[in-house]
């Protein structure tokens, strides 16, 4: 039987949500920034390495929002897994990280959520260490859509968590 799960990416404008999806689905990257308006939907079929389950990830790339409370709730209904993305080079995109994560967890309890610090190629390891108060507490993965670092792992890891949650 075919298993399909809805994955939603949220975060501020220009943090690289669309680039991460493009890297994951099409294995491509472009420097040209095109703002996402509304929602863009793509899908990818993956085989999970641990459970060997075949799963279709239907990925909703929502338009960026500086205030998470302005995200259309109707786009989030029925979500099986969240990816919260921020840009490590722009503090404004992770200053409200804790509040944003609380907002999601309150409204969508038991839905797996992974936090991604994107644009790793633009920061040093020292910078990550210096900001460990924020990054160390919340971040699950440091990714680079440009180089592809950790991109597949993020989606695979979330898919594993989604399947685990579904089997409960």
């Amino acid at each position: 039987m075919k298993i399909s799960k809805k994955i939603v990416l949220i975060g501020h404008f220009g943090v690289g949500k669309s680039s991460l999806i493009r890297r994951f689905v099409e294995n491509t990257f472009t420097e040209d920034y095109k703002v996402t308006i509304g929602v863009h939907i793509l899908k990818k079929e993956v085989t999970l390495p641990k459970s060997n389950d075949d799963i279709t990830l239907v990925i909703w790339d929502l338009e960026g929002n500086d205030d998470i409370t302005n995200t259309r709730p109707s786009y989030l209904i029925g979500t099986n897994g969240f990816l919260y993305v921020f840009d490590m080079t722009r503090p404004a995109t992770y200053q409200s990280l804790e509040n944003d994560l609380d907002y999601i967890k309150d409204r969508y309890p038991n839905i797996p959520l992974k936090v991604i610090g994107n644009k790793k190629d633009l920061v040093t390891n020292d910078f990550i260490k210096q900001n460990k108060d924020v990054f160390g507490r919340f971040v699950d993965f440091y990714t680079s859509a440009k180089s592809g670092t950790n991109v597949d792992d993020v989606f695979t890891n979330l898919a594993e968590a989604v399947i685990k949650e579904a089997k409960k």
């Binding site: 399909s4 509304g38 939907i41 899908k43 259309r72």
Partner: protein, 272 residues
């Protein structure tokens, strides 16, 4: 040595530097004359400069002249609509004519195919219907060519937009993505009209009509080609309601294989 010779020697001594300077200027002037008067020499120096400038001009032209040209064109088109129509008419006319010819050819081929199948069950049925109703077989064939045809049915979970079940006669679209997009459009419409009571029920996409039948936990999207008449729509709605009420049950929603079989069995004959 007379006075004049002495004076000449003195002049030579005093004006030696000026003489040399004048001579060098004379040489330079000669060179300049050669440069200016001989085209080959001049072009060697000026061509690279002109090429650079021209290249820069070509690069910059869209930025500098683009808006002016666009504005001028817009104004010209606005002010001379008749002339534009006259210019475009032959091209558009040819394109439309070609398209219509192609469509008529397809229609003609389909009619011929239908007429050639004289001994097919459909043909016998048509002949019988024709005699009974008094409508000519030709009219019936033409009517059949334009009648509504179900291309695809997707049962989609409300909210998530994930496909519960689907049935299609032709593979052509990515159902998961389309189902997601339809759900996003529905959600957007609901948000925009700030009501949860009303639902988006119909979308037109080029030659296709997408009918959306809404239920509490899911909705059914039916992709239709041909003329989507009010009669067909009404019959389709009755069929979908009957399917939802009498054919499937809640547990089928969790088992897409059973749902798929029921959907295919019910809509395969397309008796609408």
């Amino acid at each position: 040595m007379n006075q004049e010779d002495k004076l000449k020697i003195l002049k030579d001594i005093l004006l030696k530097d000026e003489h040399e300077y004048a001579s060098s200027i004379e040489v330079k002037l000669k060179k300049l004359e050669d440069l200016i008067n001989k085209q080959n020499n001049l072009s060697k120096h000026i061509d690279p400069i002109l090429e650079d400038k021209l290249e820069a001009f070509i690069k910059e032209m869209p930025k500098t002249l683009g808006p002016t040209i666009t504005q001028t064109l817009q104004e010209e088109i606005k002010n001379s609509q008749d002339a534009v129509v006259e210019a475009l008419y032959p091209i558009m006319g040819k394109m439309i004519k070609k398209y219509v010819q192609k469509e008529i050819q397809i229609l003609s081929e389909n009619i011929n195919k239908s007429l050639n199948n004289t001994f097919s069950w459909a043909s016998i049925k048509r002949k019988f219907r024709s005699k009974k109703s008094g409508v000519s077989q030709g009219d019936m064939i033409i009517h059949d060519q334009f009648k509504s045809k179900i291309e695809q049915i997707m049962v989609i979970e409300s909210g998530s937009g994930l496909i519960v079940s689907e049935y299609s006669k032709t593979e052509g679209i990515d159902q998961d993505t389309v189902a997601g997009m339809l759900t996003a459009i529905k959600s957007f419409a609901q948000d925009a009209f700030t009501t949860q009571i009303q639902n988006l029920e119909y979308i037109e996409y080029e030659n296709y009509h997408i009918h959306l039948q809404n239920f509490s936990n899911y909705y059914i999207a039916v992709v239709i080609s041909g003329a989507f008449t009010a009669t067909f729509r009404s019959k389709l709605e009755d069929k979908l309601l009957d399917f939802a009420q009498n054919i499937i049950n809640k547990t089928d929603l969790e088992n897409s294989d059973i749902f798929n079989t029921k959907l295919k069995d019910y809509f395969d004959n397309e008796n609408i």
